[in-house]
């Protein structure tokens, strides 16, 4: 009995102590003697981002007498963290955002237009600055780009069918049709034309647009918004045609394409050699990674098909200069440094990525290099416009509805169009 009393007292004391200890424990750890600090929030760029960056920053920190505090925000619930932090004032000096995040934070005045900090040398040196030019200002400074979604094909299957790599939509459909067949003669189709996955779990609904939809839309000459950003364009004639083409492809897809996420479809169906085509986000190290993951797969890729135009989606993630930054020049210096060849060559040696500057050399697998040379103009990011998060979420849901056959192409697109245009009207009405 006494033991119980004792343990309960112990419990009570511990609670008390913990609570009392909070106020001190919550304070940031005292760092060395540097006179300035810079808070930087990053997304997980590799599986040990904080460590990898810290080790490369020592020199810069000494030179600028500044401590860099790197915090890695998990991809799960990424935007949530920024939104709540913004409202509490717990904001970093330098942030990391993907394109769809920008409209909200630009409107709230949370990020700074970096145009005035760009010199002519910067323009010549940094290759992707345009990708960070959003809603009329340099709100983003590209740091990760060059990983477009590309069309992989199974060389063995194409050879067997006597086909060359596809260039046009017609090539693609023809090969898909031929490839969809029963190879072992049991009366069931076990090889498909196109490995697709349209489950939106894990990263959110926009991923199925990134992987499959934008390319089709752009290759047919349509787009998400009209140029004035006051209404949407995806339901115009070219848009309907693109969606219809995509819907017709379902007969050549793996029948369970609605259950898989795009990455699962790629690894389970295309990776195991059961489909002629698959879409995946490319990486400079695909040659190495795939050799390990899919040892029996003989693959190659086309960056983009062409119908009236080329086009496929390649995201750009950018560093942002936050309005809350006290020393904006210092923060800007940091941004330029970590995207420069000096820093990135060392970082990319650890964790491969596309060169951001003219000076930095290509370090990836040779097979992937043409994405950055001859095919460089075949991929790009999406238009950033108002209410994009809502519009794209709605579009993704309707895309799913169309692909399952719940909605017709016209119904689905009309629903998404009406929803989007209402939102945009409301938005522009408020802007005056």
């Amino acid at each position: 009995m006494r033991k119980r009393v004792f343990s309960l007292m112990l419990a009570a004391t511990m609670v008390g102590m913990t609570l009392a200890g909070c106020s001190t424990a919550g304070k940031p750890q005292d760092s060395d003697s540097a006179s300035k600090t810079l808070d930087v929030w990053l997304a997980p760029l590799d599986d040990d981002t904080k460590n990898n960056w810290d080790s490369l920053l020592t020199e810069w920190e000494e030179e600028h007498d500044c401590d860099v505090n790197i915090t890695v925000i998990p991809w799960d619930k990424y935007q949530e963290t920024y939104t709540t932090a913004m409202s509490s004032g717990e904001i970093p000096d330098v942030g990391y955002m993907y394109n769809e995040m920008f409209p909200t934070f630009i409107e709230a005045g949370a990020v700074v237009d970096m145009s005035e900090y760009i010199t002519d040398e910067d323009r010549a040196e940094y290759k992707y600055l345009d990708n960070g030019n959003i809603m009329g200002g340099q709100y983003g400074w590209p740091i990760v780009t060059g990983v477009p979604f590309i069309l992989y094909y199974n060389v063995d299957i194409l050879n067997e069918l006597g086909e060359e790599p596809p260039e046009t939509w017609d090539d693609f459909v023809r090969i898909c049709q031929k490839a969809t067949q029963d190879t072992d003669g049991d009366g069931q189709i076990d090889q498909y034309g196109y490995a697709v996955g349209m489950n939106t779990s894990d990263i959110g609904p926009v991923q199925i647009l990134n992987a499959y939809y934008y390319s089709v839309l752009w290759q047919n000459g349509s787009n998400i918004y009209n140029d004035d950003l006051k209404s949407v364009a995806f339901a115009n004639e070219a848009g309907v045609e693109a969606m219809t083409w995509m819907k017709d492809l379902t007969q050549y897809m793996n029948p369970d394409f609605m259950s898989y996420s795009w990455s699962e479809a790629f690894s389970t169906i295309f990776g195991t050699g059961k489909a002629a085509f698959g879409v995946n986000r490319s990486s400079q190290t695909d040659e190495t990674t795939y050799a390990e993951a899919y040892p029996d797969l003989n693959w190659d890729y086309v960056t983009s098909l062409k119908n009236v135009d080329y086009g496929t989606f390649g995201a750009t993630d950018s560093l942002t200069l936050m309005s809350a930054a006290e020393d904006k020049d210092l923060a800007m210096d940091f941004i330029k440094y970590v995207t420069s060849a000096e820093f990135m060559e060392q970082y990319h040696a650890k964790c491969p990525g596309a060169a951001l500057t003219e000076t930095e050399s290509y370090v990836g697998d040779p097979k992937m290099e043409r994405i950055y040379t001859e095919d460089k103009d075949k991929w790009h990011g999406i238009q950033v416009g108002p209410c994009s998060s809502d519009i794209l979420t709605q579009l993704a849901a309707d895309l799913q509805g169309i692909m399952t056959g719940e909605l017709t192409v016209e119904e689905g697109l009309a629903e998404a169009e009406e929803y989007s245009n209402n939102l945009l009207n409301e938005y522009w009405a408020e802007q005056g």
Binding site: T18, C22, S23, N69, P74, D76, S267
Partner: protein
């Protein structure tokens, strides 16, 4: 004939039991086996050991500040358990064995707070915590942990205790608090242990709340740190699963430890005949 029927019944029961056991652990078997591989292919699954590797675990244990993250998680979960046990025992005892005005109504009022799903009140909760100036502190993570469910468990367990026991203690000169600590709590230890497990699991697996309430590196809990290893590209499934295993182990060990503390398995009740 009768014996055969009985044996058949036993066999059937065993079969169902095996089914229950497999059904409960099969997904964890997958999680566990995948964690010893390095692959970007979630379906690259087999029982063979030819691709066995510990590299995922090594990566996790070598993570900077790993010990800090574990410590934060342990502090939050353990303090949350102790806090919950304390406040819920007190309230449960009052609701079960004390007569006061509004007993039923107050209990119902507290009980109704259970209908609020935590995901939809994240923003208001954040605003309150911000108003209290508690962002990036332990109390922001610990204090919201106790729920009315704990009060309910304790109340129900204490209700089952015959009043004679308590009267006897009172005759010995014990006050209410002494009676609670000396007589009541030892009897309802089954309920205390169960509540401890529920609370620990809830606190440990909390993800969204610590994420928005604590943005500072030094306040991060283990689940947050583990999810920061997950990149957007070519995620290593082995690593994801190893993280899941590491995250699963502490509640599991806590559960086994608590389970070993009493024979009947988990229960909410008080005295058995």
């Amino acid at each position: 004939m009768r014996i055969m029927k009985k044996a058949f019944g036993r066999g059937l029961a065993d079969l169902i039991l095996i089914g229950i056991i497999l059904g409960s652990i099969f997904p964890f078997l997958y999680m566990f086996l995948m964690s010893f591989r390095s692959t970007i292919n979630a379906y690259d699954f087999s029982f063979s050991l030819d691709k066995f590797t510990l590299q995922q675990y090594i990566k996790i244990f070598q993570m900077d500040y790993f010990v800090n993250y574990v410590l934060n998680s342990v502090i939050v979960a353990v303090a949350g358990v102790l806090l919950t046990l304390t406040v819920c025992s007190l309230a449960g005892y009052a609701f079960a064995k004390m007569n006061f005005k509004g007993n039923d109504k107050l209990f119902l009022f507290l009980f109704l707070t259970l209908i609020v799903p935590s995901e939809v009140i994240i923003v208001p909760l954040f605003l309150i915590t911000k108003g209290l100036g508690w962002l990036n502190t332990y109390q922001a993570l610990i204090l919201p942990l106790p729920t009315a469910f704990g009060v309910f468990i304790m109340r129900q367990a204490i209700l089952d205790i015959p009043s004679d026991l308590m009267d006897a203690a009172k005759l010995d000169g014990c006050g209410n608090l002494q009676t609670l600590v000396r007589v009541v709590l030892p009897i309802v230890r089954g309920a205390l242990l169960t509540l401890a497990i529920f609370t620990f699991v809830g606190a440990w697996n909390n993800f969204l709340w610590p994420l928005v309430a604590c943005t500072r590196q030094e306040m991060k809990t283990l689940p947050l740190a583990l999810s920061a290893m997950k990149t957007q590209y070519n995620t290593d499934v082995g690593l994801t699963m190893a993280c899941a295993v590491i995250n699963f182990l502490p509640p599991f060990l806590f559960y086994l430890f608590m389970q070993s503390k009493f024979k009947e398995g988990m229960t909410l009740g008080g005295v058995k005949e």
